[in-house]
Amino acid sequence: MIQTTAWAQIREVKGTVTDSAGAPLPSASVNVKDSKTGTVTGKDGSFFLNVPQTATTLVISSIGYETREVPVSDGPVNVSLNPASTDLAVVTVVSVGYGTLDKKEVTSAITHLSGKDLNVFGGNAVLNSMQGKVAGLNVVNTAPSDPNASPSIQLRGVSSRNAGLGPLYVINGVPGGNVDNLNQNDIESIDVLKGGAASAIYGTRGSNGVIIITTKKGTSTSYAMYDGYTSFDLPTNQVKVLSPEEFVAHNRGTNYGAKTDWFKSVSRNYAFNQKHTLQFAGGSAKTNYIVSFDYRNATGLDLRSDKQEYGARLNLTHTSANNLYTATVNIAPRYLKSNNASYNAFNQSLTLNPTLPVHDTLNPNRFLFINTGFTGAYNPVEELKTVLSGTEGKYLDWNASFKLNLTQNLYSQITLGQQSNDFFDFGFTPSYNTGAINGNNGRNSANRNYNKNDQYVFEWIGNYKRNIKLHSFNLMGGYSYNYFVSSGMNAGNQNFPSDVLTYNNLGTGQYNIPIPTNPQPGDYTFRTVGSYKNDSKLIAFFGRLNYDLAKKYFLSASLRYEGSSKFGYDNKWGYFPAVSLGWNITKEDFFPKVDWLNDLKLRADYGETGNQDFGNYLSLDTYSGYGYFTFNGASYQVWGPSQNTNYNLQWEKAQNFNLGIDFDLLNRRLTGSINYYIRTNKDLLGYYNVPVPPFVQTTTFANVGTMKNSGLEIQLNARVAEKQDFTWSASLTGAINNNKFLSFSNDMYRGQNFQYMANMPAPGSPGPSQRLEEGRRIGSFYMYKSAGIDATGRLMVYDKSGNIIPGNTAKEDDKQFVGNGLPLYSASLGNTFTYKKLDFSVFFRGAFKYDIFNTTAFYIGTPVTQGGANVLQSAYGDGKYAALTNPETYSTLSDYFLEKGDYVKLDNVTVGYNFKSPIKQVSSIRLYGVARNLYTFTKFTTGDPESVSVNGLAPGVNTSLSYYPSTTQLLIGLQVKF
């Protein structure tokens, strides 16, 4: 009876599902609400379904789109789905290393960025696009318009002395990933593991944080996408030197009659970038693919540098029909050819006499030979135009994994991966180069260097998941084997019969004397040949338990047992434990139900991590070749101990403690997190001074010293306005970093309680400018304290008893700590507005409370700069540097040259417009424009404060006048989806 009624009451529903642009959506699910009845749409987005008469609502969903409910009606049901927004109500999946978690379950400090949170950056190295996006993550690129420059990345402050400071990259689950082989368009998400408990699962590589990058996967809906942009970089924040007229007027040196703007002579009008990406994706829910191709062509601001590269990335996922296994393959090849920039050419452009011509007036076909002026003067235009220097490179990264679902709750997965890169560098100086004519007897010279690096990874994990009532467990265990090998060779020769051969026929060179073993300043390199090879292994066993009770209490505990071949015989293996706890307090019954607070989670975590990013074989009793000595008329290369042995050598240890809260406020209009961390790095790796005798070398590579970083980080996202046509969202990050170098000795190694840093170069050998010293913050400037200028234009300084004395009579122990080059605060603010199809975003970024030593002003910013050299405009006039008129104190390093480094940058402005596609074959078109580094608010007087790095052990000072000009980038791009 009921059945009959049911049969009788059936009805037919038809319709079409499209996306917001009107393009059909195949494979979308159409289900009757609260029933099992349902179907999927066909290729044209259409569906046909028999539903009971009682059905009132259809639920229509598709991956990547917001789910909609529509009433059942008699006519065709035509539904358009909006793309899924970044609405936090949607589950955000966070990669935590060897697995993923719902963001709500995360108990450690992890910042999740989706691909679209990244800034568009027209240049090398996609990680630039993360700049300012993650509180506590410092991305420093002092030369963004150099097409070959990569940024330095540092998380939560400096963590080591001589071992690596950069984070571990994990790309698609493979640790040690190569970020240079990434197309920004391929990035799905980036998770930054800041807390030690999260990164401890990566053991000896976790101390500097872990950045997990996941590339885009295939989709069940086919699409194709093209993205292309063109950008122009124009110099900004220029360092200004005297014009030829001013140079002559100030009697800086001989007037050779020409008027040369050396900056313009070594520069292109603009640096140029173009990049094109094509992506195809498709498949089904079980088997899908995405393949992406990109091509980039870039030129730098200097006359020589450029880079052309093309690459591809394929991701293929295959799941068996019965869900028994999933196999995935990623393959990413990339080829590049680049010519190197010359940073020294810009140094020359500052210091060269502007009355010198570029070309020899007597022989206009030839460049002018220049060897006077400032230290190391030469003709930079000639260098850029005649000296070849660059590389041809290849990357091939692939990995494959096989995941076997042993039971519904248990899976095992094996991952194999390999990353290879090889670079074939070239260099050539022709015989007509005036440097070769005057310094190398007119011999041309060429060299080629081949370097190859391979990394192999094998990982095997098992994962068991179980829910028992309110308890849920997830247990993971695994094994990891990593092998790293580097090898290479170099060859060089001189005196080739023709300059036309450049570096392509080294055998024809006629110069057959070996390289001198103690090259003197200016010594030339004769024919050279060399090769090297070294390798290392890393092996680990690891496990982790994630547990939660009613999504209210969370616990994660992990342990990694890891060893590296690099460690000394007595210290091969170490344990890296971690534990973290989370408490979603809003789920407690006692917690008052307030409208404005939707979610509040308290977290605490502790983890021990390591750092083993240092050279191979450093613990061993190695002998190597030194110079030559004669024995009975025969020349022998002598061999002797090349380092002091240290069989105790081990990883650096970091103890990481983190307290944090995550919150959702005002009905998810404001979300964010706050973290407080303390990281103590112990057994710092580095060269330590040891007594000679009995040691043969004055330093031993050893574990000595303790450094502490602590700080507060805040990250906020707000949906300020959400109207029909208008939305406004904002993001804010802020970080404070406190650093202290706690101790610099232990039972074995003692006596060196400080280390000089940032040695300043000639002329004058002013000595080091900073000290890394027990009890101090890194980046502490250690120099004389200035007491102004006396009547004769001398720089006066305070001696240790407080008397004012001329700078050139001060002694070493009159030096004091006078400032610090490490920013205390950093912050960023982003705002994104959309109005109908227009979107607009503006991003500010800044660093505060730190000093920069103005190296340029110190060397060439005063009237007493060596004659014949050009100087900064600030050397004359009323400025403080113009007052230093007495050459006696030229080399006195003092805080007179310290300036506030604080800056705020209008870093990124993006405007985009989404066109409605005029033709059926195209689903969407987006046109966008970006301006980067538009304006810098700063009191720093010479150039862009960001061209002085604040990462590393000597922040806030450049130890060379070489630099790459700061630029403003204008970019226009087009994205089309098919």
Binding site: L324, N371, N405, L406, T407, N441, Y479, N518, Q520, P521, D523, S531, Y532, K533, N534, D535, K537, I539, G563, K572, Y617, D621, T622, Y623, S624, Y626, G627, F629, F631, N632, G633, S635, Y636, V638, W639, G640, S642, V690, P691, V692, P693, P694, F695, V696, M748, R750, G751, Q752, G764, S765, P766, G767, N808, T809, K811, E812, D813, V864, G867, S891
Partner: protein, 579 residues
């Protein structure tokens, strides 16, 4: 199909076909993939190093190669010259100020922060440690395995001990209170400092023990350059005894004279003085009968005395064009002779220093000529002064990097473009007030032009037979035998002057007095890295006055302090008195 049936099917499948091989794989992996030994490809450890005779020679030579470097490395050259009364490194218009380091060297006001007070220690003890390491390697070697004879092994050991004595003697001279090292492998702490007497006796014994096992010069021939011989070890005894009074408060001039006489008499091998002044320094000096110990040099390989810490930076910046030798890039103004005259060209009244005037006192000295490359590996003169024409274009003159043409003179001040003979208004002349015209430059070892087959080919003559003559002369002089002293000195000096020159000392030695003895040491051994030792032995180092230098308050500076970087690392290491 329900989920349950799928699960059961899977379980069965895995139990039988998958899990067993899986477990097998686990066992193999865990056993095989937990090894973390390092594989070396492009380097060697001591365990597998010494396999052949050549390996032993390479190991043997390690400390020798380092020894050659130490003639100038770590400040070891300038620490012997700049505190003396001959060389200077003034602040030249901002160049060579270097935090006042060289001025403190001049004024004897160095501090333990001055890098060379640590660097010299490290350089010398690195040599001592390397020699000891090689000694330990070679003493342990199985002669049959590496195919050397017992005699060769004994020779290697004797030569290494002599070399170690040479390092020890220098460390003793500079620091006096030093540790005595006889073993380094496996050691982690520095041996305690020995008393000067213990060190003196140790060096004396090591040398005396080594002499019987060492070769003699004529057996090795010209190819023996760089090898320690009986003559070399005996000459080190001469150095030790000559300075014994300074070192241990007991004079050993009689012992010194005996050994020196034996060397001259050929008891330790056959040696002859050269007949021209430049021959001991010329490209073929490896074969010279005057070279008792020398370091072999070639243009393409090692040539430390032609480095920036030594003779290459003993000329104006562009002086390479004066020599016509452009392979090494620019020269540098680091070391020049202290002035004998003020800015108005009036000779200073003090008796010490004034090295160029001391040469001019015997005006027919061949060495006084301006240096000139004559072609075909020949040169004349030893000094650079006045205008310096380019070798390849004599109408062009060497200029300062500051733009003015160099006119080098025996004066210090700011002359810049002031023409020769004109008196500048600025009368200041001191270590902080010099330009590139200030001071006369020395080219003792020839710098032949680029392309000359013998450019940069001179061995560095660390011990010359002339030193033995001068040492013996000094012993005779101190014993009151001025006549014998004059004869010995003239035996060397006669090559500096025309035949029958009045510049030779009269027989009987009436011209000889303490000042003349010291002046003559200064002439013969100018820029050879020993002036400080000679001044100390003659008691003038702390009491003498010379250009921009007053006598010291006390004599604690006659030995150097142990530098901060050394002393802070070694608890228990006692600083030298007065620092």
């Amino acid at each position: 199909m329900s989920i349950k049936t799928i699960k059961n099917k899977h379980m069965k499948y895995f139990t039988n076909k998958f899990f067993i091989p899986l477990y097998g794989a686990v066992v193999i992996l865990f056993a095989g993939c937990t090894k973390l030994d390092e594989t070396l490809y492009d380097r060697i450890t001591s365990e597998n190093f010494l396999q052949t005779r050549d390996d032993v020679i390479r190991d043997f030579l390690r400390a020798f190669e380092h020894a050659y470097w130490t003639i100038q490395g770590g400040g070891l050259f300038y620490a012997q010259e700049l505190p003396g009364d001959q060389l200077m490194t003034p602040n030249r218009d901002g160049d060579w100020f270097d935090g006042g380091k060289y001025q403190r060297a001049h004024y004897h006001t160095w501090t333990i922060q001055d890098d060379y007070t640590s660097d010299m220690w490290n350089a010398l003890f690195q040599g001592i440690s390397l020699a000891t390491n090689s000694l330990e390697d070679i003493e342990a070697v199985d002669i049959n395995k590496v195919n050397i004879t017992e005699a060769e092994k004994a020779d290697f050991i004797a030569e290494l001990k002599t070399l170690r004595a040479w390092f020890n003697l220098r460390a003793f001279d500079l620091y006096r209170n030093i540790p005595l090292v006889t073993k380094v492998k496996g050691e982690t702490g520095m041996p305690p400092q020995a008393t000067p007497e213990e060190t003196f006796n140790f060096i004396e014994k090591e040398l005396k023990d080594a002499i019987p096992g060492l070769p003699v010069r004529q057996d090795l021939g010209a190819a023996g350059i760089g090898r320690w011989t009986k003559g070399g070890a005996a000459a080190l005894l001469v150095r030790l005894y000559l300075n014994a009074e300074v070192y241990i408060g007991q004079s050993k001039y009689a012992e010194c004279a005996a050994v020196a006489q034996d060397i001259i008499d050929g008891k330790y091998g056959s040696y002859q003085l050269e007949s021209s002044w430049y021959k001991p320094f010329d490209y073929d000096n490896a074969a010279s009968g005057e070279t008792i110990y020398g370091f072999p040099s070639t243009l393409a390989r090692t040539h430390w005395h032609y480095s920036g810490d030594m003779y290459w930076w003993m000329g104006p910046h562009q002086a390479q064009n004066f020599f016509g030798f452009t392979n090494f890039g620019g020269m540098n103004t680091r070391y020049a002779l202290q002035p004998g005259r003020d800015v108005d060209s009036v000779e200073y009244a003090f008796s010490m220093g004034k090295p160029f005037i001391k040469f001019q006192r015997y005006s027919d000295d061949f060495r006084l000529k301006k240096y000139k490359n004559l072609g075909n590996s020949q040169r004349e003169g030893m000094f650079l002064y006045g205008y310096l024409p380019y070798y390849n274009n004599p109408s062009q003159f060497v200029k300062s990097n500051r733009g003015y043409t160099i006119f080098a003179r025996d004066q210090v001040g700011w002359f810049k473009d002031t023409p020769p003979g004109e008196k500048p208004a600025d009368k200041e002349s001191n270590m902080n007030h010099a330009d590139d015209n200030s001071g006369i430059w020395v080219a003792k070892y020839p710098i032949y032009p680029t392309g000359d087959p013998n450019a940069i080919a001179s061995a560095y003559a660390e011990i010359r037979l002339a030193e033995v003559y001068y040492s013996l002369a000094e012993c005779k002089y101190r014993a009151g035998d001025k006549g014998a002293a004059a004869t010995l000195l003239n035996a060397v000096r006669k090559r500096n002057y025309p035949a029958g020159s009045a510049s030779l000392y009269q027989s009987g030695g009436v011209q000889l007095n303490d000042q003349e003895m010291l002046d003559e040491w200064g002439r013969e051994f100018l820029v050879e890295g020993r002036r400080r030792t000679d001044l100390i032995r003659w008691g003038k180092f702390n009491t003498g006055a010379w250009w921009d230098k007053q006598p010291d308050n006390d004599d604690h500076t006659k030995i150097y302090p142990i530098g901060q970087n050394v002393i802070s690392l070694t608890p228990g290491l006692k600083q030298n008195p007065g620092y």
